[in-house]
Symmetry: C2
Subunit: 406 residues, 2 copies
Amino acid sequence: MARVNDHYLQLPGNYLFSAIGKKVSAYSAVHPDKRIIRLGIGDVTQPLAPAIIEALHRGVEEMGRAETFRGYAPDLGYEFLREAIVEGDYEPFHCQIDADEIFISDGAKCDSGNIQEIFSADNKIAVCDPVYPVYVDSNVMAGRAGVYDAEKGIWSNILYMPCTEYNDFVPELPRKTPDLIYLCFPNNPTGAAITREQLQEWVDFANRTGAVILYDAAYEAYISEGDVPHSIYECPGARTCAIELRSFSKNAGFTGLRLGFTVVPKELKCNGTALHSLWARRHGTKYNGAPYIVQRAGEAVYSQAGRAQLKEQIDFYKKNAAYILQGLGEAGYTVFGGVHSPYVWLKTPRGMSSWDFFDCLLENANVVGTPGSGFGPSGEGYFRLTAFGSYENTVEAVDRMKKLGI
Amino acid sequence: MARVNDHYLQLPGNYLFSAIGKKVSAYSAVHPDKRIIRLGIGDVTQPLAPAIIEALHRGVEEMGRAETFRGYAPDLGYEFLREAIVEGDYEPFHCQIDADEIFISDGAKCDSGNIQEIFSADNKIAVCDPVYPVYVDSNVMAGRAGVYDAEKGIWSNILYMPCTEYNDFVPELPRKTPDLIYLCFPNNPTGAAITREQLQEWVDFANRTGAVILYDAAYEAYISEGDVPHSIYECPGARTCAIELRSFSKNAGFTGLRLGFTVVPKELKCNGTALHSLWARRHGTKYNGAPYIVQRAGEAVYSQAGRAQLKEQIDFYKKNAAYILQGLGEAGYTVFGGVHSPYVWLKTPRGMSSWDFFDCLLENANVVGTPGSGFGPSGEGYFRLTAFGSYENTVEAVDRMKKLGI
């Protein structure tokens, strides 16, 4: 008699964004006349840049001719893309990363959900609080989280590292030693950045304790100033303690095209076993590569034309972020993030709970954001807005929130 | 201190096709003048059909304009594709499958590797022997396989169901009761088909014992005659015991485009828990959808033009299969499969081992096939050839094998 994975049953309720989607649908059904502005889920709205569109068309043409048709991709991804990544993302920051340490995938969500699989079920994980839900949920599914305390919203076997305004949303080194440490900078959801010096402390801590850092740098393209590292491999010692996850979703608008990659340095070992070979084995066994045409699109991200066009696109979203930050600040909201990040993290007014503020905003301003508490207990009393809307919608959303008079 | 997933370390050697790739590369390096014909890995060679190419170009155009740009796909996949699947794959065979029981993915390899995750780690699995390695390896990685006996090539906790010429490559019902049963028909690697009556016995067995059948129908498009079911849902009772996995790789040449789907009927429950909700949770948490443009390409597979073009493509591969079957039969080989399948399964001559025959064929005929033993102990003494080459290469490969004089 088949039995299900009980760990799945422990997961409370729905995935955060599914829950939001349902609330919004229910509201729309009752109020079909209301124009809802969505600054909730971190989905982009700008169309793909011309250089990427061209690359896709070229790739499609190739797939239609026998001489240039491509079947299964190489296990780690096409060399042309892995080399473009090394030249575009790592060499400029003097990170020593080889093309064969890069694993092309269909996105950072999948990678950040799957990466825990190569570790033992009894590893103890540490996460920032608030945190991108996928890190926690994928570990719950694997049985690594312990027991859920519904009242506190925490798992007994997960080490939560609070990130609040009191530590500028950068966690302190934990007193208990975790085995796996999830870090995401620039941070989702708080929009906070980490300095090179702060990140170096984490690298040193991991090397000292034998922990592995899973470093999510999906928002790297939004970094605005010099002191913030673009990659964890800018820190000496990271090659022996860190895996880095990257995405094409937020720097190039690939949320509907799907492309990402994971870097596993060959020196990174646990008790003598190279994690590179384990991740390679997972790729070879359970994955079959990103589409050829999408890998060509990824290559175009690093072309001269692609870079120029994408700089404009990112500047567009950054202008939105700056508008939200300034507008809500003027309106009396306490706001964070939004400088190195497409996310603005705000304190709910008058001590409202995150979900109460969600409902209030949906009903009174027809604006959708993401309740901070959905990202963890320390997110309670906060709220996330994204800069991924159109400029007009962003301006109108801020305008409506100002008029709320909170 | 981080610890790795020890189950990974139990996996012997490399993934089969990586091992073959290395042998071929090594031979080519020493003999750069030899023209090698690859009938090993099941990768297609015909370019994408014009209707699919058109749909891709249209999709790319949409992604380049703000009004039609698409970001994250719906969790289960786009409705237009799920409905096309119901109409194209299920209604014609009178299978009662709803669009919201279909989960779009990036391919059957990923799905067949991931599906075990929703089941408890102590479920006992049964597999055909020989078998597609992903079923076994993904269960080894999850700790479900027990201990490996390198001499016999079997895992202590897996129930192997021998499929040999003595049972026409269709397994008998096991005496011990498994919890999860992997079946693949038309079969990879043997090319054997199952009759509706035989499959009904499995459905009845699963319902009687509470087992779940994971039915891989990736090669459905190659079915040639009436008595062979295209879907397990043609069998009454399958909705309460079977999950079906499907691919666009072999019917439409999507090996480099990546698209597949899994059907989980809502009635399918284990101890009261609907597997549909567990698989939905996995999709929502660890996956982010197949690319919009690829889902549009999938829709074109079911268009009138797409169907006509793909029938031609499949007929092309079937002609290759028929040529191999007839040619090698005439040359004195004992051959199976190749009728409802793009795979021909042959007995190695003179009792050679599968790998010895692989080496012999590579060195003396410069033809690459797949050693049957790579698929499991009952595959020893057999060898798989695929019909996915060009017609010219297929003819030449058969010709070379005839000349071997074995």
